[in-house]
Each structure stands twice: as C-alpha cells, then as structure tokens.
C-alpha cells in the first residue's frame, strides 16, 4: 500500500522529459503522487525556482522528494528550498540518476517504505551498473 504522505517532484529542463519519466514511473508505481516542474513556462527549455515552489505547494504530501536532471535544475531546487517557506513540508533534494533514481524511490513509496528508504533506494541506483 503506497504511503500518500510522500510525493515525488521531477525537476527537468524539458517538460517532455519530465512527462515521459513520470509516465514510465507511473506505469509501475501507480499510486504514488508524482509532480512535475519543468520547462521555462513558455514552451522552452529551462527550470525555475518559482515553478518548483508552485509544484510543491500543490501537493498535499508531508514530504516531497525532489529529483533533478542537470546541475542548474539542482541550483533552482536549492533556491526554492532555501528561500520559500513551503509550509511545514519536508523537502529532500535527491542526488541520483533522474530516471532510475526516481523510479526506485517511487517503488519504495509504492510498497509502503519510508521516505528515508526511498532516498536510499534512489541513491543506490548510481552505484549499480545496468548490465550485470
């Protein structure tokens, strides 16, 4: 049974990339809330701290795990976490491969594991070769 107190937020420069990643993950982690903050808001590539803040506010989860694609998405995520009071939600930026990491975390949440376990599952994907 999925815990609905933990949600995922995918921060990407590309809206297509974020939507596609969500589609892929949602096929397995069907009950997990996955939000998107992607693109420059005008149909182009980019990320924005404001977009991240809005996406966080729209979830009712107590804890949000944030995944990002490239370095400047991380910078925007860090700004959003530092600068805005996002009520009393706990925000964790997860340093992990975007697709595999988010999928591993979503599956952990789907199977009722804690947010902490989900973060560990995501981080572990960096160390595991796909061909083994």
């Amino acid at each position: 049974m999925a815990s609905n107190s933990v949600a995922l937020l995918l921060v990407s420069h590309s809206e297509s990339l974020a939507r596609g990643t969500r589609e892929l993950i949602a096929a397995m982690a069907r009950e997990v809330t996955i939000r998107i903050a992607a693109g420059d808001g005008e149909g182009g590539l980019g990320t924005s701290a404001e977009g991240i803040e809005t996406a966080v506010r729209e979830t009712d989860a107590e804890e949000v795990l944030i995944f990002f694609d490239l370095g400047s998405a991380l910078m925007h995520a860090e700004m959003a976490v530092e600068m805005w009071d996002v009520d009393h939600r706990k925000l964790t930026i997860v340093d992990a491969p975007f697709v595999e990491g988010a999928l591993a975390a979503a599956m952990a949440v789907q199977t009722g594991q804690s947010a902490e376990a989900a973060v560990q599952a995501a981080e572990k994907t960096r160390r595991e070769p796909k061909r083994r």
Partner: protein, 208 residues
C-alpha cells in the same frame, strides 16, 4: 555609489544586455545550451522595469534585483546572479552608499554566494573566475578615487573573462565538452565583465 546610481547602473546594464544578447548567445552555443544572452536580456529587462519608480534604499535595490533574477532568469545564471545580489543586499543593510573602501567586502559577499551556490573553487571556467579576482582588485584599490577604482575593476573583469578562454570547463554543462571547451570564452564570465564595465561607465558619467 548612492542608490540612484545603483539604479542607473542596473538599468544601463539591462540596455547593454539587449545589445550584447546575440553575442552572449553565440558564446553560449559554443560550449553550452545557447540561452545565456536571451535569459540575461529577459531577466534584466524585468529588473529595469521594476526599478523604474524605485524609492527605497540601497540594500532593498539589490534585493529587488536578486528576486527578479531568481524569478525570471532560467538556466544557471538565475540562481548564481540571484544569490550574488542577495548576499550583496545583506551586506548593504542599513548603508546609504558604497565608498571605494567598501567595494572589496561587497564583491566578496557576491563572490561567496556564487562559490557556494555553484559549488566552485576557481579555475573551472565559470563566472567565479571573474568575481574572485575582483575582490583582490577592489582591496588593492580601496584608497583610490571612485572612478579610478571602478576603471581598474572593469579592466580586471575583462582581463579575467578573457582568461577563461584557455581554461578547461570542469563545472556546468560545458564540462561535458572536456578538452574541447578550451579556446572558448565562458559566457557567464563575459556577462560579469559587462556588469562591471557598465558600472564604471555609469558612475563615470557627467552628473553622476
């Protein structure tokens, strides 16, 4: 530098970026994703508009710039410049003006923000390679007359931006190019050089 001069500086920089938009974009398309010119021009245009009827203090002016850049500039330059202006705003709290002896600490606050936000340490072919040496240049020129000091800062900034040409990028998206990033200027270093050149030009103008 009084608040009216700071406002004039930021507005002149916004105008300068409109002229340099293509050039910065061209630099960025060689080693990045080619959006630096458009992003900076758009963000600073918004800064200019918001400062049109500005009637608060120096610290608030820098804070306004910070907030606008964070909201409007996509890519890495939004958080980087946004953090620099945020830290400079905090340093200016309660101050009515910046005298020549204050510039080193002010620029250091900005540079420190960039260092932390970008997780850089210098020599990685980023805007920090301009910001960091400006702190020393400002310290060396602390006893100079304002326009002489600002001329020296503008020259140092341009020289250090040029020096990024020979560096290999090890941070940001240009780092994916590895050795092939050598031979190109870093766009963020160039937009930083422009910022300090416009500062010098603005405050050296007659009547300022």
């Amino acid at each position: 530098m009084q608040v009216t001069e700071a406002v004039a500086w930021f507005q002149a920089y916004a105008d300068r970026l409109q002229q340099e938009k293509e050039h910065l974009t061209e630099l960025d398309s060689r080693i990045g994703d080619g959006d630096h010119g458009a992003n900076m021009a758009r963000g600073w245009k918004a800064v200019k508009e918001e400062l049109e009827s500005f009637d608060q203090g120096l610290s608030e002016c820098f804070m306004q710039v910070s907030k606008t850049l964070i909201a409007k500039v996509g890519g890495a330059s939004g958080p980087l410049y946004g953090t620099a202006f945020l830290r400079m705003s905090m340093k200016l709290k309660g101050e009515a003006s910046v005298s020549p002896g204050d510039w080193a600490e002010l620029i250091q606050a900005g540079a420190e923000g960039i260092r932390q936000r970008g997780k850089v340490s210098g020599g990685e072919k980023t805007m920090y390679d301009v910001w960091a040496p400006l702190v020393d240049a400002a310290r060396d020129g602390a006893d100079l007359e304002e326009t002489v000091l600002l001329r020296s800062l503008a020259e140092t900034a341009r020289e250090k931006a040029e020096a990024t040409r020979e560096m290999k990028a090890t941070k940001g998206r240009a780092s994916y190019l590895g050795e092939r990033s050598i031979g190109h200027l870093d766009p963020g270093a160039v937009s930083t050089a422009l910022l300090f050149e416009v500062l010098c030009d603005t405050l050296s103008r007659e009547g300022m």
